[in-house]
Symmetry: C2
Subunit: 294 residues, 2 copies
């Protein structure tokens, strides 16, 4: 039975045993469901926070059109056995104008950082607040936002939060497109172009697993597959610090951002080192259409 | 029995019931003892953290000559019934170069802020880390550092830390000088001049309690008493935001900084509103010499 909570205090006080937190901005898709399922498996109490955080939107229009549907979200949370859906009103989040900012230097310097000024400070500040106010034992994030994951991991280390941060594979639509709440704004005729993004990343992952570790080669593969794309960047970066690197010589990810019609999409494949081998995490594909479209 | 702990995890795990934290940089004087006693009265477990935080020293020489004496500090902690003296080694505090910074805007803009660049970001970052890693229920700070107290209170509010912050009166030597670990560096012939600081503040407090609420009048009183002083500032500010204000129309404090010989001293009186009356908090005077000098 999922209950909706409105304050940090009641949410914290209702946690029994180990608490797993899934921070979200709502409008759940299968990516969120997968995070809730992972939290369910690891925790006695599963808390999903739902707050569309104005601090992390650098673009006001993007904030305003961000999709919202609480009834639908509550239903999905119920299906996943979530205990508490924490939906704080603005006055609980920001009783006074927030003056405190949490910033993670360097990790935010590349990729999304310069293209979304203030975004990662907004993310770091709200995640620090959720960790401070809810005191979870685990927190679950998707690997799709690889740089965000790096920011959160460094925040936890630097501030000594006793939170284990768990990154889970990207969920993808059956055709390979990474799930995103923003996908609902893609027009049908933009779709073929959007698919070239993940196809390029998969081609690069194939190359890497065949022993081609140079960033230049992997990036060229992505750009070749998506030759008509309006790429903002295609970059190989370290998982720890999100700094660009020249070759896969540590846990890393190959990330891109591109504009497709009116929508800005990001995607990546992560490269993990498993027993000395480079393994590409291409994410998990749905076998049926996402409920985003139902 | 006071035990020394070295890691956040063991310190947090040994906390039973409500935990009261006194964050310090060591070299304890009666001001610290009073904070420990307040923590003892309010908490089942009293934790005193001792870490000379490089982040909050803008002046490297000041950091290097900051006095340290762990044996002496442990003895004082024992006298006050402290349970855990948390003395983290540098590698526990900063296993990697810290990239995360916590900043509280506006509250740090005046008074000490511009004169000690980076100081309050250092304070806010280390206090956030102590609150995140130790999860105390209460935290005790002296009112001598009135702006620091405002920074910490706003940090707690903005980041939703479930910590009750308690500000305690300044302890003073028998002659009125506010206790500070730095007092040991005052030369005997600087002492008469140092005394004019608290005398000026007390004169202003007398005025305020007699109904003179204008900042200009109170500041003039301090400057008149200390007419030979090398003041950096004398300012009336709000307790909430440490912004300068023109009159005592809310909880506020009259603060000053001055150089006496080679030592930079700060002091203040707080003005609280009690049942419609303005009451000056002049602190608490020792009747005997401070153990700083023994």
């Amino acid at each position: 039975m999922t209950e909706i909570t409105r304050t940090f205090a009641e949410t914290r006080q209702r946690g029994r045993g180990r608490v797993g937190l899934v921070p979200t901005m709502g409008f759940f898709h299968e990516g969120h469901s997968a995070l809730m399922a992972a939290a369910r498996a690891a925790s006695e109490t599963v808390v999903v926070s739902l707050f569309v955080n104005p601090l992390q939107f650098n673009d006001r229009a993007d904030l305003e059109r961000y999709p919202r549907d609480l009834d639908r979200d509550l239903e999905i949370a119920r299906e996943q056995g979530v205990d508490l859906l924490f939906v704080p009103p603005a006055e609980e989040m920001y009783p006074l104008e927030p003056l405190t900012r949490v910033e993670v230097a360097r990790v935010a310097d590349h990729l999304e950082g310069p293209r979304r000024p203030g975004h990662f400070a907004g993310v770091a500040t709200v995640v620090a607040k959720l960790f401070a106010g809810l005191q979870p034992d685990f927190a679950f994030f998707g690997r799709k936002d690889a740089q965000q994951l790096a920011v959160v991991r460094r925040l936890v280390l630097d501030l000594s939060f006793p939170v284990t941060v768990i990154g889970r594979p990207t969920l993808r639509e059956a055709d390979g497109l990474a799930l995103s709440s923003r996908n609902v704004y893609l027009r049908p005729d933009d779709r073929p172009q959007a698919l070239l993004l993940s196809m390029g990343l998969f081609a690069a992952a194939d190359l890497a697993e065949a022993g081609h570790f140079e960033a230049s080669e992997l990036i060229a593969a992505v750009r070749r597959v998506g030759s008509g794309e309006d790429f903002e960047y295609v970059t190989l970066a370290s998982q720890d610090t999100a700094q660009p690197i020249d070759r896969i010589d540590r846990p890393s990810f190959l990330a891109l951002a591109a504009r497709i019609g009116s929508v800005r999409l990001i995607d990546n494949v992560a490269f993990d080192l498993v027993a000395g081998n480079v393994i590409g995490d291409r994410g998990i594909r749905l076998s049926a259409p996402s409920r985003l479209y139902s």
